[in-house]
Symmetry: C4
Subunit: 269 residues, 4 copies
């Protein structure tokens, strides 16, 4: 088969035949490999021992991703559309740091260069392209957006009021040095994380802390209830759209599973 531009575009953007699937698998491995290297390189011991190998592999991955980026820019129907899309920006951010580190290495902006290097980890977001089944989940989350906002609003109010109260009760001696610090403690407590780096010392403070803990323990039920209810709704909707029967008279679809007659014109299905 000749490698025409149309054929190439099919390989890059689709995944329904052998060649396009192989392209996807190679990219997937490259993404996982490059992220793994960035992570391992941050461990001092491994950096000291294998730093040169990591550096060379990083360049290999960067060249591969650069080629992929050029291909996508060249092959996409609306070039600016791709470049400015979410994945277009992620693809660019995944290759830029390596090139910039080359240019800036001679200057003194070493801290900035270090920071940029870790942007490479964002390559993991490119995996999002391969998660098509996530639709129902994101739909459920999207539908419960309003309720989750109200819930978060209430939680933040509780944290603000409780943080202020605890700052006043405990004071700087117990580590509650300011309201923001006391709010940090309130979040650590309400979400039941409980580091223990700051914890109340006075009996009254411990009583208030107990209230926050029981509150946090009880209100976790709210987001759970919201999401469960939405997932149920999304499921029922999906089940209905799975019913493929079409009415012979009025051609209407979307019938319930238990329907015997068309709900629009009354014809037997």
């Amino acid at each position: 088969m000749k490698l025409t531009r149309k054929r190439l575009a099919h390989i890059v953007f689709e995944s329904d035949d052998a060649a396009s699937k192989r392209f996807d698998v190679v990219l997937l491995i490259a993404i996982l490999g490059s992220v793994t290297i960035t992570v391992l390189d941050s461990v001092r011991k491994l950096h000291d021992a294998y730093g040169t190998i990591f550096y060379m592999m990083e360049w290999a991955f960067t060249i591969l991703f650069t080629m992929e980026y050029i291909l996508r820019v060249w092959l996409s129907r609306r070039t600016t559309g791709y470049v400015l899309s979410f994945y277009g920006l992620v693809d660019l951010l995944a290759i830029l740091p390596t090139y910039i580190s080359l240019v800036v290495a001679n200057s003194h902006f070493l801290a900035v260069v270090r920071a940029l290097r870790f942007l490479r980890v964002l390559r993991v977001l490119k995996l999002g392209r391969y998660m098509r089944e996530a639709q129902m989940l994101t739909e459920a989350l999207h539908n419960s957006r309003m309720k989750i906002q109200i819930f978060l609003g209430s939680v933040i109010t509780i944290i603000l009021v409780m943080g202020t109260v605890m700052f006043f009760i405990e004071g700087p001696e117990s580590g509650f040095t300011s309201i923001p610090m006391a709010m940090y403690w309130a979040i650590v407590t309400l979400t039941t994380v409980g580091y223990g780096d700051i914890s109340p010392m006075t009996p009254l403070g411990q009583f208030m802390a107990s209230l926050i803990m029981l509150l946090g323990y009880a209100i976790i039920a709210v987001p759970t209830g919201i999401v469960t209810s939405e997932i149920n709704a999304a499921k029922n909707k999906k089940r209905n759209s799975d019913d493929q029967r079409t009415c012979h008279t009025c051609h209407a679809g979307n019938h319930d599973e238990d329907a015997y007659h068309c709900k629009y014109c009354g014809t037997r299905l």
Copy 2:
């Protein structure tokens, strides 16, 4: 448009045209701003650097809220009704501390003044006016009130009994200096917060602690189940009240909103 008293009342109490919406937005920003300043002012570094600016902005917000309070008192149909309502009291508590700090500053009651200053954070409760969509959530919580009370009663009994048992097993050496302290530990453990400031040292104590943890891990399912079930019920109620039609022939209900014929027997609804 002339600014009559009726027009002003509309702007202050409603939010359905440009002027009243602008009024709401200005107030919202002022509330968030004044709360932010109170929070930031509690950080010693920021207080030392920007204390004067914070003080001036605090007065600006206080004057603004005072004007809002006077407007609301003047414009509301039943003045005492507003003054004694929840939001009336919050509005008053949000401006009082600044004025009191002015009066009391010359005296020696500095600790009291400090405490009063943080009452300003309560202004955040004024945001509640803008959260109208919370109705279904609060209804679900209200319906499961009885069950949540029983659940909290059981949790408090577990905490009391377990606290007493652990106080006897561990004793003051491990930090379980009294039953209230042991109950505080039991709350920290049952709610899975786990600060680690007090933790059992003896094998028997660690065994009892394991039981409490597994119990806390299992019974969190109860409030979650209650709330989920209530949210489902609130949802079904809403959906059912959306369509009350019943088939005349087979008496089947539960028809879709867009149905013209019964889906079971085909009769015209």
Copy 3:
């Protein structure tokens, strides 16, 4: 009204008129009061300051509960039935320790006496008599008993295997001194309590710990799902039994809310 034995039994065992309700309220306050005193007496400072008052009040409550116990034994139809019932034993355990402490005080078994004193806290279980609305909750828990057992079995297996693996990986240096201690750590981690008194130090141990945490985070969904599903089922059942309609022909009850005809004989309801 003359205080016959029958009238007294009504006051003690029922709660449907003024006198019996007053009896319940007095007992409720006495239970809460006596438990509060036991708890407060365990705080050294309060014991030193108010020890004598606590001692006197303790005796007052004990005499009151002794009178209640004698009344219940005398008035109950089947005396042995009450004495050996759950609440009969709780009532006895609530008064015995005070008397025993009197007898044993002269001997050297001080530690035993101390332990017995805290048995008084069990009086809180007497409150169970007043929690009649708990039925639906306990029914839901009872129905999901089997599934909760399987869930706990799986959790204990995970804890045993993970504890053994971590004991081998980490060893005594990190605090994993034995398999039971490592299992204690596994429980602390899986239930997301996380004291931090023992935590893995080696990279492999931290990797295994991460797996346990994510597992614990994911499988908490299982008991929640079980209980939610049971509460829904209990609710539907209750709703059905709320339908009070009875068939005129066959006198059958228990009809669904949406039923138009008796499901047993077909008569119009």
Copy 4:
């Protein structure tokens, strides 16, 4: 009854008469006993005091399980099928370590021998044979496999990105010595375990940590929602498959098991 091979196979593989049930109970006790001994033997004090008894009991259990293994190999219809099955491998791994420790004891591979000894704990997996009621639970988990994978994928992405960000913000001074270490911290925080061995020190780091905590607190709702929804579905499926009857007149389904007439139109089912 003569102990033929067929009879023996019945006793070993089934559990529907007295003899086969007795065989199961003996094995169950032996499994629990041998696991308990391995666990207790890991406690130094108990090992020093009862090491010899543990050693002898361990050999008794090993001989018993060896006999069971030989029986199962001999009696199973397809010998290789059993040997290579999951439980076949567990049965072998449960007896091998004791024999190997005998052979290797004379050599210097003591560390390996110690490790192998703890493989005995895997015997607990043999209990899985007796958990037949777990079917509905595992089915629900199996059905939500895809969604749980997507959820775990998202969680791992959050952990990777947040770990990298925190490594850059906090640096080695606060214990974030490398990206893997920062990812370990992110897992400890997101799952609300919160050991406190590593915790953010800078204000920006504490702000980012607060975001992760609130995120972890909110997204635990997702697996819970998924599993609850699947358990409900499994339950409805079971209930519906219990009654497949449809009314001949109005085609309504969903009849109660004890119904004789359609509850909507009264027709005989």
